[in-house]
Symmetry: C2
Subunit: 429 residues, 2 copies
């Protein structure tokens, strides 16, 4: 399925007007960045790169799209012809997926003609704004869980295709699994899940339901114990599955006290190895509040797929430089109130002191990184050809590994859950 | 593209266990409803029905999906065989798309075998939770705009496929247009848009940019006037396009005062018919705050596509009745703390007094509606066959028209923006 119409109409009308004005082919540099982090957050995690690159490969105007654009008179015939031949032929660099970002970090840099690049604006922002919103929230939950595993279970709380992206972004940010099958297939995210309340209600008794589940999924399965009365269900669960029962899941109630009671009951029944997983409207704060409770794993839904209060990462896609008719590069920037941008091509580095990040240094121009500076831009596309290492399962695995390294450089203050300022300052030079 | 893996793994493991237990084919009734409205909201708008029905038609496990499920050992061979033949053959009823809903309203009712119905849970909730979150927020913005036209421009602030759904949902809720081209093609939503700041920055001067745009799109176009200095741009815009300039767009700054200044300047320049459109991070509150300003239309982005603070509508999909082995219907409901549900098949009506809604009356059972009661369930699918009037462009147009009628029945208190209780009570009988 083509991604070419996942685009705002004005991208195409700009191409039309620029083609007619003779400015469409001016070499241009566009940048994706966030003016600020979601309120109170201390760092962000780049997610979406691999998805954007995959969509870029599919960004073609086929006959059906062209016919519709023509019938609706969205653009003129000359523009239709140009769109029919559209293949992105430029370069794209960016922060590695999984990288930490801060306000102003140029996390994607598109270098192409104006027309080739501007068409990608909406799609690039849709992908990065959503995926990075999820990853930024997920990273905080991972910190709050303090080493205990997290599963993403929020597919039902976001658009059905966004759900796949959310599972992928949460996994990159350190979640361990997802309930979403398509995310398993397309992106290699481990999938999990056993049964919902409906399965218990389908059967004539809770015991029947547990027997049916254990008969099929084995005693190592996870039994959901809060459909009726939790202590009764826990007793039934151990009777049915034996003390080798894998886990019980609690999806309602006052978790800090419930979890302790269930743990004691399981231990009293001899099911000392049975784990407890909780899934009741968790977010980073309620996860942290359960640190003292004997929880073994968490399932998180709404809050992770909706960015825990910040469902879009606030990124923008801006023209920062273009050539004039004499072939000279001109840095450009708008001056709008509260929305000014910094013109010019950027060379961002993370400055480190004893391995700890101290500054997001964004040099305007093409300077070399100095010692103790980690260059942040990675080539992703050259001459229209996408580097395949960033695609598919491999790209996800690479991003998940990169996040661990990037986050490990952050000062300890980065991981406080309370509202604060970005953990290191952004400096332009 | 199949929708069958846009599903939580546990839907499939429940089918597997129920097939083995001999309970998979029990006739069942599932219901989609919201336990509560987003905090402080007074009513909700059903959106997503037409999208869900389209996805239901594509819900097939093809060879690629089956091979992956088998390779990953998600379910056993018998279940793979059953999935290979899966076609939904049951009935679906629901609130008409565009209908008002309240806490507990059974806005989708799925009647089928347990296995056929349970597989649809995740997909149904993804669609209704997102689309209705957008529609609910959009409806408030429509009230706040008090008759002035609204355009949805938030594609870049949500996942790229959710963006198409958001444009559709906002249109159903009363928006007039979208920037999203795919929403125009797939759903018949009118599209709009002319140029971004990048177009101005591409050119050697703002005047060059305006000339290029007017040369292509005509003087009736909308010129963006806040790239550098607004008064200068407004003067240039009228010089370039003449007093017949269609509109100017302002995307930054303190709108209530700016809009008045720009109106006076346009009038002084003789461009008395030139409209003013504003697009700076609007939500229902800032739209309402501009009521006294000479704004002609609004463009709304982030807040509408993210449900204005409530990105998921909080709907759930619950088994409410099923047959036992003797063929008798059994009402079922879980008793979990704070998450109890009401068992049994429902017959919901809206009780009206002099044409004004007074109660959401949900009869448990199959009773007939009395006088002054509007029945709310509409047949959508019969024996697996989708009623095509609810699909595609026709379905969207129908939903948009239905919303107007449904909202017209609400008491005036429904349209207050401040936080409040649901505008009419939900009563079970």
């Amino acid at each position: 399925m083509t991604s070419a119409l996942l685009t705002d109409r004005y991208e195409l009308t700009m191409v039309e007007a620029a083609l007619r004005a003779g400015t469409a082919h001016r070499d241009s540099v566009f940048e994706v960045f966030a003016r600020r982090l979601p309120e109170g957050r201390r760092y962000g995690i780049v997610a979406g790169t691999g998805r954007f690159l995959a969509e870029l490969s599919r960004f073609r105007f086929g006959d059906a799209e062209l016919a519709w654009l023509s019938d609706e008179r969205i653009v003129d015939a000359a523009t239709i012809d140009w769109l029919a031949d559209y293949r992105f032929s430029g370069d794209v660099s960016g922060y590695a997926e999984g990288e930490v970002y801060l306000p102003g970090s140029p996390l994607l840099v598109v270098e192409s003609s104006f027309a080739e690049g501007v068409l990608l604006e909406t799609l690039a922002l849709s992908v990065f704004n959503y995926d990075s919103a999820v990853a930024g929230a997920a990273a905080r939950m991972v910190s709050a869980a303090d080493g205990r595993p997290l599963a993403e279970m929020g597919s039902r709380r976001t658009g059905e295709r966004s759900a796949v992206a959310a599972a992928r972004a949460a996994y990159i940010a350190g979640f361990d699994a997802t309930s979403n099958l398509e995310a398993g297939r397309t992106w290699g995210v481990p999938t999990m899940g056993t049964a919902a309340h409906a399965f218990t209600l389908l059967h004539d008794s809770e015991e029947d339901a547990f027997r049916a589940q254990v008969a099929t999924l084995g005693p190592g399965t996870t039994l959901l114990v809060d459909t009726y009365d939790i202590p009764t269900a826990v007793r039934t669960a151990v009777e049915v599955a034996g003390t080798g029962l894998g886990a019980v899941r609690i999806d309602s109630g006052d978790l800090p006290s419930l979890v302790g009671q269930v743990r004691r009951q399981l231990d009293d029944l001899g099911a000392t190895g049975t784990r407890i997983t909780v899934t009741n409207d968790l977010d980073e704060y309620t996860i942290a509040a359960l640190r003292a409770a004997p929880v073994d794993s968490y399932g998180v839904g709404t809050s992770v797929v909706s960015g825990s209060g910040h469902p879009a990462a606030g990124m923008v896609f801006k023209l920062v430089a273009r050539r004039d008719d004499a072939g000279e590069w001109v840095s450009v920037a708008k001056k709008s109130a509260d929305k000014a941008s910094v013109g010019g091509r950027k060379a961002p580095v993370r400055v480190l002191s004893d391995g700890v990040a101290t500054t997001e240094l964004i040099r305007v121009g093409d300077e070399q990184a100095a010692e103790h500076e980690r260059p942040l831009l990675v080539p992703l596309v050259r001459g229209g050809g996408v580097d395949e290492r960033f695609l598919g399962h491999e790209g996800v695995a690479r991003a998940r590994a990169h996040r661990i390294e990037a986050v490990a450089e952050l000062p300890a203050g980065a991981f406080r859950l309370g509202r604060g300022e970005p953990v290191i300052p952004t400096v332009y030079r």
